[in-house]
């Protein structure tokens, strides 16, 4: 028997461990230690052609909008989190989201974008901007369940899926950046599903309202997702699979 066996922890010990700053610190140290702004130090990669570069810039600009939404929302959620575990976890998520925004901005600069802020405004997907506005309304309204659902289930699951798909076709430099981001997203989407799952077990009457929020947000997120896939040139036959992980999470939570 191993000295450390996660499956032998009692439930409270497990939750305390995985929500802790200590766990987060040693986890990210495992995959970010040898990287600078998400890139492996010393690695060099060939330049992209003009069309691929332009498509990638549009995609990264919209990733920046999604990450900014998650950064602002997760920091806003700390004050309304229902327990200390969640507050501590969200503090780690804030740092993750700030790093994601930073590495995507840095990648835009690598691609020759001199003023990322104005480029983001020009290339912003209106559905994603509308999603961000709605998410921030939910946070400002201190609506914990709906905001965690919108951010950590809807947005994070879609980002996780989109980033992984993009990684499989991306140029090596972008793939390096996405690799570190995807590893963070696993924690974020898991936090959302498990926190909401526990709350819905205790308060099943909340399920109907969250299902309504889901229907409202689905259109915005799925439209964004489709347009990002278009800009990346992803083939249509693969898109159903990409959406299935999101739908699996929705089904597990009983929000169909």
């Amino acid at each position: 028997m191993s000295e450390f066996n996660p499956h032998s922890l009692d439930e409270d010990e497990f939750l305390e461990e995985v929500h802790s700053v200590d766990f987060w610190f040693h986890a990210v140290d495992g995959y970010l230690r040898d990287r600078t702004y998400g890139r492996i130090e010393g690695a060099s990669h060939p330049d992209l052609d003009d069309t691929d570069r332009d498509n990638l810039i549009t995609t990264l600009c919209n990733y920046c909008i999604g990450e900014t939404a998650a950064l602002e929302a997760s920091s806003g959620l700390i004050s309304i989190a229902p327990n200390r575990h969640s507050k501590i976890f969200l503090a780690t998520q804030v740092v993750d989201e700030a790093r994601h925004l930073e590495v995507f901005l840095r990648r835009l600069r690598d691609l020759g974008v001199e003023d990322p802020e104005s480029e983001i405004s020009v290339r912003a997907n209106p559905h994603l901007v509308a999603f961000k506005d709605r998410l921030m309304e939910l946070v400002a309204g201190h609506d914990w369940d709906a905001a965690v659902f919108a951010q950590n289930v809807v947005l994070e699951t879609m980002e996780y899926t989109a980033f992984r798909a993009h990684m499989s076709t991306a140029d090596p430099a972008t793939a390096e950046v996405l690799d570190g981001v995807v590893k963070d997203e696993r924690r974020h989407l898991g936090f959302g599903e498990n926190d909401l799952g526990r709350r819905l077990m205790a308060m099943p009457e909340k399920r109907q309202r969250l299902a309504e929020i889901r229907r409202e947000l689905d259109n915005l997120v799925l439209a964004t997702f489709e347009e990002v896939q278009d800009s990346l040139g992803a083939d249509r036959s693969r898109r159903v699979d990409l959406g299935s992980e999101y739908l699996d999470a929705i089904e597990r939570l009983g929000l169909t």
């Binding site: 040693h26 495992g30 498990n194 526990r198 819905l200």
Partner: protein, 109 residues
């Protein structure tokens, strides 16, 4: 998850699958090695690995997390009723037997 999955019902279900498990033969134990999974602190790493796609297979002590798709590993052969934790996505899981007799997991919230 259906509305009927109240905490008491889950506890009953766990008890049932545990009883079934206890009735089985003695289970094998496994020495775990570090498979390069670097998304959790070092002391927990050997309990997880990435699914390597076509050609990969699960050992009798391994199962895939339904939430984040990481392979979860145990020091013992898995049986229905076992409780596992997926640290990469913070999920608590129960091992259950699927209709086809294979083992799968359900998320326990």
């Amino acid at each position: 998850m259906p509305d009927s999955d109240e905490p008491g019902m889950i506890a009953n279900r766990i008890e049932k699958v545990r009883a079934k498990r206890e009735a089985g033969s003695e289970r094998r134990h496994f020495e775990l090695d570090d498979r390069g999974f670097n998304e959790v602190p070092k002391k927990w790493r050997k309990f997880y690995r990435h699914w390597e796609g076509d050609g990969d297979t699960l050992g009798p002590n391994e199962i895939i997390c339904p939430v984040c798709k990481v392979v979860i590993r145990s020091v013992k052969e898995l049986r229905p009723g076992d409780r596992l934790y997926c640290m990469p996505c913070m999920s608590r899981l129960l091992v259950v037997e699927a209709d086809d007799g294979t083992l799968t997991t359900e998320v326990v919230y």
